[in-house]
């Protein structure tokens, strides 16, 4: 009998509130399954299990807040099934039942996959529905509702597209049927700010950052994306940002001292490249969930996963592996941002790549000055794990890969 514990979903997390069980007692679970939802400072996180077996008993009820590491449920390993089948209340040592015919169906007792890699995330839906995390409401309505403790989810909106307007909140407050205040699940931007503050303060306190910057011509990659997208429906189109993530992942694979974790025992390079993509949250806030296997997954699959990840980040519905697996982060300023960013590394990672807004700028090509779409790439890296020389080679490799979009 094993214990399934409250996972740590980031360097800064101390406790979580269990808000939903998704698996009933007695149900078979497999490594990588989402079994419950935990509310944290970064929104509601779907937590995954890392063993295969049967969820025997829940130890925490919905609504309880427990610290990281607290047992959430008992997990019966494959082969232990017989003890439970006898209905024994007493705890039998595992040895006494080992080897007996298991009562579970064959697939439930399949051996767990090799443990060296985290499980791949569930295949994303190709066209995820837009974020549906919180009701639509005008900023004024949202402010008043927050101040008065009104749950927007309980209101009917009279604004455009059914959005909740200020008047709707006012009438809910004055009317006799004002819904009882309820703590909504989803994103609490104040709490998220605290989590960002804790992680970034730790980063600035502990990590000896060094910074490099390099200008990259994104014309070839942009043209490649435009040509590919020309005949495709929107759901299958790529973004330039996808090629940047891929180029960073490929380069990180070649320079392992920029891809991994600095922990108590020193730097540990990661096996795979899981790129944390910084996603700005509407209203202020930031989360950088992992896009798994960014170096190797086919691009169409990676793009679908990227869209799905951004939608869920904004809706406040990420998975635990996405919160913890990122081995390097990419922060892109988008198409209307500024030229460059000096990043703050998300611990325990050791590198962050910043992508400035691509802009038409004068460049010298074959001795002539011509306008080219240029973007400034920056690297913030941990000097405990790498030096500027290797960091420079890494940035140059990203720039080189961006000139060969076909090879990505």
């Amino acid at each position: 009998m094993g214990l399934y514990r409250m996972p740590s979903l980031g360097a800064d997390m101390e406790a979580g509130t269990l808000v939903e069980w998704l698996v009933a007692p007695g149900a078979a679970v497999s490594r990588g399954d989402v079994v419950a939802v935990v509310e944290t400072q970064k929104g509601a996180i779907e937590i995954e299990i890392f063993e295969t077996g049967v969820l025997a008993r829940r130890l925490v009820e919905v609504g309880e807040t427990v610290p990281v590491g607290a047992p959430l449920a008992e997990i019966r390993a494959p082969g232990e099934a017989a003890a439970e089948a006898k209905g024994a209340e007493e705890e039998r040592p595992a040895e006494t039942v080992a080897g007996k015919a298991p009562a579970e169906p064959a697939e439930a007792i399949a051996p767990a996959p090799p443990p060296e890699r985290p499980p791949s995330p569930a295949p994303p839906s190709p066209a995820p529905a837009p974020a549906a995390g919180r009701p639509r409401a005008s900023p004024a309505a949202r402010r008043l509702a927050e101040a008065q403790g009104v749950d927007l989810a309980g209101l009917r909106g009279s604004g455009p597209g059914g959005a909740i307007a200020l008047a709707d909140v006012e009438s809910a407050l004055s009317g006799p049927a004002a819904p009882a205040p309820r703590r909504a699940t989803g994103l609490d931007l104040g709490e998220m700010r605290k989590a960002i503050a804790a992680a970034m303060a730790r980063s600035k306190r502990e990590i000896p950052h060094y910074y490099l910057s390099h200008e990259v011509d994104v014309g070839a990659a942009r043209d490649w994306v435009a040509a590919r997208n020309a005949d495709l429906p929107p759901a299958e189109r790529f973004l330039l940002g996808l090629l940047l993530v891929r180029a960073v992942a490929r380069a990180a694979g070649r320079y392992p001292e920029l891809n991994g974790f600095h922990e108590a025992g020193g730097f540990r390079p990661a096996e795979a490249v899981h790129v944390g993509v910084a996603v700005a949250i509407r209203g202020g806030g930031l989360v950088a969930p992992a896009l798994h296997e960014a170096e190797t997954r086919p691009l169409p699959e990676l793009m679908a996963a990227f869209r799905d990840l951004v939608a869920r980040a904004r809706a406040g519905r990420l998975r635990s592996s996405e919160m913890t697996d990122a081995t390097i982060t990419v922060s892109s300023l988008g198409e209307r941002g500024v030229d460059a960013l000096a990043g703050v590394i998300y611990p325990p990672q050791v590198a962050l790549v910043g992508v400035g807004t691509p802009r038409e700028r004068p460049a010298v090509v074959d001795g002539a000055v011509v306008p080219r779409p240029l973007a400034t790439l920056t690297l913030a890296a941990d000097h405990r794990a790498s030096d500027g020389h290797r960091g420079a080679l890494f940035l140059a490799e990203i720039a080189r890969l961006m000139q060969e979009p076909d090879s990505l």
Binding site: P135, P160, G161, P233, R237, F306
Partner: protein
């Protein structure tokens, strides 16, 4: 079959992506990317949703026409009429 109102459909899908936006405050020719803070991923999702709901082709090269309320309404009317 009733003809969908392109302006209403557009605003509805835009609100899905930018739920906190106050479209009453947005001028017809204001750039939505600035006015309601949508990025390239949002715009792609918006185009995908419009394609799905209105059953019209929206080539990527036309996407810039969807970045203002007035431009989007005119463009969608045009596409619906020629569909």
């Amino acid at each position: 079959m009733t003809t969908p109102d392109p302006r209403a459909v557009f605003e509805e899908e835009l609100m899905r992506i930018a739920p906190d936006a106050d479209l009453a405050d947005v001028g017809p020719n204001e750039d939505l990317r600035e006015a309601v803070d949508i990025d390239s991923m949002d715009l792609l999702n918006l185009v995908a949703a419009l394609h799905e709901r209105l059953r019209i082709d929206i080539p990527e090269t036309d996407t810039p026409r969807l970045t203002t309320l007035a431009g989007a309404e005119a463009y969608l009317r045009e596409r619906l009429a020629s569909a």
